[in-house]
Symmetry: C2
Subunit: 404 residues, 2 copies
Amino acid sequence: MPQQPPLGFTFAGVACGIKKTGAADLALTVSDRPCTAAAVFTQNKFPAAPVLYDRALVAENAAGLRGVAINAGCANACTGEAGLADAAEMAALAEAALSLPPRSCAVMSTGVIGPRLPLDKLAAGVRAAAGQLSASGWDAASRAIMTTDTKPKVAFRQVGGARLFGMCKGAGMIHPNMATMLSAIVTDAAVAPDVLAEMLRRAVDVSFNCISVDGDMSTNDTVLLLANGAAGAPDLRGFGNHEGLAAFASALTSLCTDLAQQIVRDGEGATKFITVRVEGAASDADARGAAKAVANSPLVKTAFYGGDANWGRILAAVGYSGAMVEPTRAELWVAGGSRGEVTSPLQLVSGGQPLPYAEAAATAIFAEREITVTVNLGLDMGQAIMWTCDLSHEYVDINGHYRT
Amino acid sequence: MPQQPPLGFTFAGVACGIKKTGAADLALTVSDRPCTAAAVFTQNKFPAAPVLYDRALVAENAAGLRGVAINAGCANACTGEAGLADAAEMAALAEAALSLPPRSCAVMSTGVIGPRLPLDKLAAGVRAAAGQLSASGWDAASRAIMTTDTKPKVAFRQVGGARLFGMCKGAGMIHPNMATMLSAIVTDAAVAPDVLAEMLRRAVDVSFNCISVDGDMSTNDTVLLLANGAAGAPDLRGFGNHEGLAAFASALTSLCTDLAQQIVRDGEGATKFITVRVEGAASDADARGAAKAVANSPLVKTAFYGGDANWGRILAAVGYSGAMVEPTRAELWVAGGSRGEVTSPLQLVSGGQPLPYAEAAATAIFAEREITVTVNLGLDMGQAIMWTCDLSHEYVDINGHYRT
C-alpha cells in the first residue's frame, strides 16, 4: 500500500515535556480547508474531558472542523469542570497557533488519570508543532501519540481517486496510567457529515469494537474521522453515488480493521494474535457475546500463552457468555494463521464432545504465533469475529509494577 | 469455632488412582438417615454430567438423599450422553457400596474436561472409602476434593443445638484442566426441603456468588446442602419457628461466606485478599455489577499485585460496568484490612476528582495483604460487596504452563 496521505492535510509530532522521558508527546493533524467530521467515543460513564469536548464540538460543527491536537502523558480524565475548561483551552491554543477559527480544532488526550493538563507546556508544544507541519509529518505524529505502544500504528488506503490515512495508539487500557485507544483518520474524499457518521459507526463496529487486550474499556477511547474533499473525488456529499459510497465504506472498514489488528498485535505483553470466530449462533448478538467471552477469558488467554491445547476453557467461556447454547450441537476447530489464511484446521469437538484428535497436532497449532479458533453453535446463522492476544507474564509485569 | 461435625454424618477420603500424583481423589459424605436436600448449580450452558444428574436427583428426591460421592481429577464435562450414564453409574456404585437405596446418592466431579470417568477406579474407590467412614473423616474428605487448592477448606458452625459443616474447593476455573467450585454442606438440623432451598439460595447469593478469582464460570460449580435432622433441634420443618429459621439462615450464610473467602484467599497465584464495596448505587443490581467489574478487571488486579495505588482503573471499571453513574458524585476510599476491621481509611476521590492525598499513605495501603476498596456512587441506597484476589505472575504460570 503506497504511503500517500490525503491531499490538503499536514501533520507534526513534537516533544513538549509532558512525558518524563522527553519523548514526543504532542501531535497535530491539520487540513487546509474545512472538513466534515464524524467521531465515536467510549461508552465509559466516566468519560474524560476531551471526550466531552469533542462530542459537543462534532455535534455543533460537523462540517467545519480543521484539525485535531493530541497529547500523550496526561489523560485529562476525572478532572471535573476544570478539566473541561483545560480541554477547551488546549483547543483554543491550537487554533491560535494555527490561525484557525474558534471551535474548529478537536482534542484528544492519553496518559495518567487524575492530573490536570500542563497548559504551559501544551502552549509551547502547539506553537512548535505548527512550525513543523508537513504532508510527510504523519510518521512523527503517529509516534507522538504512543504510550506503552512499542511501535507506531498507521494505515493507508486509496479508493476511487481519494486517499485515507489513519493512525492510532494503544488497545484497551494499555498502560497502568495511560488509559486510551485513540485514532485519528483523515481523507481527501468529500463526504456529507451524516454519511460520514454512519460509515464510521459501521466501520468501528466491525473493527475497533472487535478487539480486546484485557477487556478493560478506557475513559478516553476516541475515533475521529475528518474528510476535507481536497481530492475532488469521490464526491459522496449526495446519495447518488452508490458505488462510490460502497467502495469508500469498504476502504474505511479495511483501514480501521488494519489499525485495530495492529493494536492487538502490539497489546501489552502480547506474544500471539488470536482470531475468535463464532458461527451458527442464534443471532449475531449471541455470536458477538460468545466471541467476546472467549477473547476476554484470562484462562483462555493464558492457555494460548502457554501453548496449551486446553479447549475445555473455550467452551466454558461460550457457556457463560449468555449466548443460547445447545451443548450437543457445539463444534470447535483450531487452526494456525488468521484472516482466511488458516493452516491445518483441526476439529477438536463435535456434538459437544471431544473428538479423538492427535494431541501433538493440537499442540502444534497452539504453538503458532497466529491462531484461529472457530466455534460453531449449530443453531442458526448468527456469526461474529473478535481479535485478541494472549495473557503473558509481561502483561503482569507492565501492569503490576509500572507506576511504582 | 469447635470442629464438631453434625450428628449422624460420616466422611471418608481415599486415593483411587484418578489423580496421576496418587493423591486422595475420592470423598464420601454419608448420613445414617434420609436428608432433606437443596442445591445450587452453575449457570454455564455447558453443564457437566454430574450437574445434570444432581439437578434431576434433588428435584425428584429432596427429602430422601443419603449422601454424596465426589471425585477429583476428572470433571465428567463435555462428555454427552455417555457422561450422563457414567454419573448415574458413579452414584449407583456408591449406593451399592453403602447399601443405600437407589437414587439416594448425589455425585460431584472436578478435573479435566473431556475425558470419561474411570468407573473401574471409582468402583474400587467407593468400596475403600465406605470402609473408612467416620465422624472425624471430614478432614480426609476435604483433602480428597482438592485440585490446585493449596489447602483444604472447611468451616463449622453451631446454632440452636444443631451443627453445620461445610467443605469446598477451588474458585472459578482454578486449574487449567480442573474446572470447578464444589461445596458440600451438611447439618443435623431438621429443615423442610423448600425452606432449605430458599435459605441456600440466599446464602449462596451473598457468599459464593460474591467471589471472583478470574471471572471464569466453570461447567461444574455445585453447592449441595444436606439436612438430616439428627440433632432433633432446631426443628425447621414448619414455619412456626421464626427465630430458629432466622438463626439457622444466619449461621448458614456465615458458613458459606467463610468457605467462599477461603477460596479467594487460596485463589490461583493470589497474594492479596481484596474486598470491593460499592455503596450509594441506583440499585443493588447496579452495585453488584459495578463491584463485579472492579473485582474482575485484570488492570485492577495487577495493580493490587504490584502494590500500585492506581485508583483511575477502579473508577474506569465502574464506568464500564453498566451501572448508572453521575461522575461528579463518585467517591473512592481505600483501606487496609477487610471484614469491618479496616485500618487507616484514605479517601482518594471526591466529586469524581482526585483529592490531594499523600501518595505514600496510598502506597502503604496498597502494599497490605488485605485491602478494602469502597466506591460510593452518591445516587441511592444500592450496595454490594465482592471478594477477589490479585492477578500475579504465578496465575499466569499455573494457567499457561500446567497441562503441557
